[in-house]
């Protein structure tokens, strides 16, 4: 018999950045971080986890392709083995009898198949969604229970640090823990506010073209920890207060404060990358144009913040805004980053139509023109418009990526 569970999990974009590990084996951070979980209607990882005594070995398919050596990969093993430890009895709903005793799960091998609804090459934190989906799927499959709140997030963290934040919806903090160099048990994610707390929050994501693959986060942050003097200061002296300030801004729905802190933290993260030896450059020319445009936009709006940029370890821009400004912001981006191919340039057809029809203020266009920015096709590959969303969701059998009879992957990318 093949036991199965299928889930979807969100990606998240940090407003206070995680960069630097306190312990590499434990995958704990040198500072806390905070993110917004994005809506799975727009971006998600869909994962089926299956287990059977009939499976020969652990196998993993990602976006339809089997990952060789997955069964021995440290991250994969951490997630599977730790979740096995929390496995519970699988009980029949109707009869109440034990279908699988908790001790039996570890006798079975697992077949996992996962895909993202957004391209990995887009640099949109697919690891976070993927490992959150894996852990959540395994939790459902093994009927696992946390022995303390947040324990599942500690396991997801070992798959990929920021995956822990994708186990909750809305605004999520990853608490660094009391002793991260030695003990990861309290290095967990915590929901600060759910996705309904501040329903006006929106995100406009600009996927920027880039000629070269970036320095991997894992390698990059290790070099930063070793060589950047400013990073230590950031972790000890700057982030703790920023975390407190941004949590207050979220509680009070103060977009001005939220936006300011978000932009400053993105810049500081990239500053520590530059202060690394050898230096790491994640933002490119287009990223910088977007930064300057956002400052002009906010200044034109009278100094209040309508849009706040943030960049992860890559050139893509995530612009946070409020629902009342989302169309204007999208229209502004469309004006300076027009598409050559209109279909699929913006993920949401309604937003695409509204943005195209929107009449941008002449003064705003003047102001952006004045800093020397001219419309340029090809700088931005495509745009996602989304909002805050919930944590992982259980999906029905019809969404399964694995054949219930054969145990093999059924997902084919199209």
């Amino acid at each position: 018999e093949i036991h199965m569970a299928t889930v979807s999990a969100p990606t998240n974009i940090a407003c206070i950045k995680y960069w630097g590990k306190a312990s590499i084996p434990l995958n704990t951070p040198i500072n806390s971080s905070l993110s917004v979980t994005l809506d799975q209607d727009d971006l998600r990882a869909v994962t089926t986890a299956s287990a059977s005594l009939g499976f020969q070995s652990d196998r993993l398919w990602l976006n339809g392709i089997e990952e060789e050596g997955a069964s021995t990969s440290k991250r994969f093993r951490a997630c599977v083995d730790r979740m096995l430890e929390l496995a519970g009895d699988k009980i029949d709903d109707k009869s109440g009898s034990v279908l699988v005793a908790k001790s039996e799960w570890k006798e079975m091998r697992v077949h996992i198949s996962s895909y993202n609804t957004f391209p990995t090459a887009a640099g949109l934190a697919s690891s976070a969604a993927g490992y959150a989906a894996l852990v959540y799927a395994l939790a459902k499959l093994f009927c696992a229970k946390e022995s303390y709140k947040g324990q599942f997030t500690a396991i997801a963290r070992q798959g990929s640090g920021s995956a822990c934040r994708s186990l909750y919806g809305g605004f999520v903090a990853w608490r660094m823990g009391s002793n991260p160099a030695i003990d990861g048990s309290d290095s967990i994610a915590q929901q600060v506010a759910d996705e309904n707390h501040w329903p006006q929050i929106r995100a406009v994501i600009l996927v920027v073209s880039d000629s070269k693959k970036d320095t991997s986060s894992t390698a990059g942050m290790s070099t930063s920890v070793q060589t950047s003097e400013l990073l230590k200061h950031r972790a000890h002296n700057v982030v703790p207060k920023r975390m407190a300030d941004i949590e207050k801004a979220i509680a009070e729905k103060d977009f001005d404060a939220f936006g300011r802190i978000t932009m400053m933290d993105s810049n500081q993260f990239h500053a520590t990358c530059l202060d690394t030896y050898p230096p790491i450059f994640y933002m490119n020319h287009v990223s910088k144009l977007i930064v300057r445009m956002v400052h002009v936009y906010n200044d034109w709006a009278g100094g209040t913040i309508r849009a706040a940029y943030t960049f992860d370890a890559g050139p893509n821009a995530v612009l946070y805004t409020l629902d009342q400004y989302q169309t204007e912001l999208c229209a502004l981006m469309l004006h300076y980053f027009p598409s050559t191919d209109h279909t699929n340039y913006i993920n949401n057809n309604d937003m695409a139509a509204q943005a195209r029809d929107y009449q941008l203020d002449e003064g705003l266009i003047q102001a952006v023109d004045n800093i020397g920015i001219i419309p340029q096709t090809g700088d931005v590959k495509n745009i996602y418009c989304t909002k805050a969303g919930p944590g992982p969701q259980t999906l029905g059998m019809e969404h399964a990526n694995i054949d219930i009879h054969t145990g093999f992957n059924t997902y084919k990318p199209h």
Binding site: L230, H233, M264, Q268, A271, L274, T276, Y277
Partner: protein, 427 residues
């Protein structure tokens, strides 16, 4: 007839007396090189005109035969007002507080009140583009200070006094009053009298070549003055740099220079340039001085060093996208040959041979295709050089190679000079 002759004689005598006592023009020419900081100055600790820094800094002075500010200053009782010509255009002295300030500072130290009261004409030219991060202010104010001091007979009444005047014109100008490795001391006093520049090592101690890569000669977006004050106000990382990073780096870098340890010198230089730009990025709004070409230069230098197995080239960037790359003369031909290949530069005559294997190895480490020609717009080749060259034209004392930019007959810019100088700077 006798009365007429006598009248003519009297008139002739009167005329010759006038021409004999025509006010003389005393003029001095100074040439200075810019300097390039290897541990950066960024941030003033005072709001006023003293230009006191938040931290100490050290620099290397560029050889002024290749890249320079050249200034002729003249004074005469016949001059009606202070006048100034910068790169061929007349400017109003009163419009520049810094220039008026330097003049006032030197005048108040002049021992002859009659001379101090005379007006001054200043003609100055840079051999490189202004306001593009090639330290034009520094060279210019250093030249002005030294020239006016020489003109008015003003000397240091304590070590470094003249450097404090140059500093008041433009902070880093103080470092161009000496050659070689120069330190601008932080100073403790509020009046800035101890915020002086001193030579830590002469240019003869360690020949270092410089390859300057101009990535964009256009005017920069954010001036240094406003940029650095923005950083002080908004960067949460800046205070840490000032308190914990700078002094240690100055100490280690000076030691490395004295020991001729390029590996250490190079690494600290690159790290400090990157940290300065990191502070700019950590400001709000963020300041981006480096552009995509700048970043490619960083990556290329890292690749060259990786293949060499040690640091043989070290970059630094000021408040602009242009790179100054240091190398020891034994490595310069190789470094420049690799730059020519990967940055698509025209031949300069100073490139050495480099094997196909080495090019392949660097290409692999670099990971990018060579840049399109023109991405690096211009290259200047120079080396660590001396302090100011001075010629007092009137007494004949000093470096006789210097040509006056001013015509002493007219008191105005020399016509022929505007045709001769090959690189009149564009504003």
């Amino acid at each position: 007839l006798v009365v007429a002759c006598f009248a003519v004689l009297l008139n002739l005598l009167a005329f010759s007396r006038t021409s004999m006592s025509a006010p003389k023009v005393h003029y001095v020419t100074v040439r200075t090189g810019p300097n390039i900081a290897v541990v950066k100055y960024w941030g003033k600790r005072d709001a006023g005109p003293l230009n006191l820094a938040c931290n100490a800094s050290i620099s290397l002075t560029m050889d002024n035969t290749d890249i320079c500010a050249q200034t002729t200053v003249a004074t005469s009782a016949s001059f009606q007002e202070d006048r100034l010509w910068l790169n061929g255009t007349e400017e109003k002295v009163a419009d520049s507080k810094r220039i008026s300030g330097v003049l006032a500072q030197v005048r108040q130290r002049c021992k002859d009140p009659a001379v101090a009261a005379q007006h001054i004409h200043i003609v100055s030219r840079n051999s490189f583009p202004t306001a593009a991060g090639l330290a034009s202010s520094a060279a210019g104010f250093a030249a002005l200070t030294v020239a006016v001091a020489k003109l008015l007979g003003v000397q240091d009444s304590y070590p470094g006094e003249l450097t404090t005047i140059a500093r008041m014109g433009s902070g880093s100008a103080c470092r161009s009053l000496s050659g070689g490795l120069v330190k601008w001391h932080l100073g403790e006093k509020d009046d800035g009298t101890d915020s002086i520049a001193t030579q830590e090592a002469p240019e003869s101690h360690w020949p270092i070549d410089m390859t300057i890569l101009v990535a964009n000669a256009a005017k920069k977006h954010t001036s240094s003055t406003s940029g650095m004050q923005n950083s002080i106000k908004t960067s949460a990382l800046m205070a840490h740099r000032v308190k914990f990073c700078v002094d240690d780096r100055i100490e280690r870098l000076t030691k490395a220079f004295l020991e001729r340890d390029f590996n250490t010198f190079g690494q600290i230089t690159m790290q400090d340039s990157n940290q300065f730009h990191a502070i700019c990025l950590d400001s709000f709004p963020p300041i981006f001085y480096m552009n995509d070409v700048s970043k490619q230069v960083c990556r290329l230098v890292a690749a060259i060093n990786e293949v060499a197995g040690e640091i043989i080239a070290a970059y630094t960037f000021d408040a602009g996208p242009n790179a100054v790359v240091f190398s020891e003369p034994k490595n310069t031909p190789r470094v420049r040959a690799l730059f020519k290949h990967f940055l698509s530069l025209p031949a300069s005559g100073s490139e050495g041979e480099v094997s196909a294997d080495e090019i392949a190895a660097v290409a692999k480490a670099f990971g990018f295709e060579p840049l399109a020609p023109g991405q690096v717009q211009k290259t200047y080749l120079t080396q660590v050089g001396s302090g100011p060259l001075v010629l007092d034209h009137t007494s004949g004392e000093g470096d006789k190679r210097l040509t006056s930019l001013l015509d002493p007959e007219t008191g105005l810019p020399a016509e022929e000079f505007s045709l001769q100088l090959p690189e009149p700077a564009a504003e």
